[in-house]
């Protein structure tokens, strides 16, 4: 069975602090994809990153970085020097091959509050 767990329901930080959002996944498939999406207060879902199961390299994009560790089945997301605009709900998702499409499994989301 596939599952994504985001244990942190809500996190509050003060601007300029670093914050890490945790994501733990479960799957027996050897081929899979991991994603992070951002949902700002305006409501849309914005794609941030995709990672496939064969690429464990960490990735950095500006203030955002992602740490993928297959040994612990984790795909954590770190925001460095957080800003008020980072306030949003962040979803981690797992996609595995299906019969005719890759089904997505979403975590329940982590709400990040960045206070000025």
């Amino acid at each position: 069975a596939q599952k994504v767990t985001q244990a942190q329901t809500e996190i509050s930080v003060v601007e300029k602090e670093d914050v890490t959002l945790d994501c733990v996944y479960e799957t027996r498939d050897t081929t899979y994809y991991l994603f992070w999406y951002k949902q700002p207060p305006s409501g849309e879902l914005v794609f941030l990153i995709r990672r496939n199961s064969f690429d464990e390299q960490n990735e950095i994009s500006g203030r955002y970085s992602w740490n993928f560790q297959k040994s612990t089945s984790s795909f954590n997301f770190t925001i460095t020097a957080s800003q008020v605009v980072d306030s949003a709900v962040y979803f981690c998702a797992l996609s595995v091959p299906g019969y005719n499409f890759n089904k997505f499994y979403f975590g329940s989301g982590t709400k990040l509050n960045v206070k000025p």
């Binding site: 794609f47 995709r50 499409f101 890759n102 989301g109």
Partner: protein, 115 residues
């Protein structure tokens, strides 16, 4: 290039009324999806389509119907709305599954309230 659009953005229905939500995409993607988002439950797949003229059930299909008559459009219908269908509905699209174009891209959402 609008990406994925949804119509309407907001709607209030009375119990028993019907309505159709429209999703349109200009990304030339084969796959389209309808999700509902409820507090604390993440996103749950209602129905999906792997190409024009095809549809299939997701996790929570009861009370909904869908149609994909054109590649670029995916319609979600509620025949007899119930308060339990109060939710935010998202449409998403992706290229062929299993390839590097697997990312799902989402529309802006439709907030539906059923009284």
């Amino acid at each position: 290039n609008a990406g994925v659009t949804q119509t309407p953005k907001f709607r209030v229905l009375k119990t028993g009324q019907s309505m159709t939500l429209l999703c349109a995409q200009d990304m030339n993607h084969e796959y389209m999806y309808w999700y509902r988002q409820d507090p604390g439950m993440g996103l749950r797949l209602i129905h999906y389509s792997v190409g024009e003229g095809t549809t299939a059930k997701g996790e929570v299909p009861d009370g909904y119907n869908v149609s994909r008559l054109k590649k670029q459009n995916f319609l979600l219908g509620l025949e007899s709305a119930a308060p339990s269908q109060t939710s935010v509905y998202f449409c998403a699209t992706s290229g062929r599954g299993g390839t590097s174009t697997d990312t799902q891209y989402f529309g802006p959402g439709t907030r539906l309230t059923v009284l």
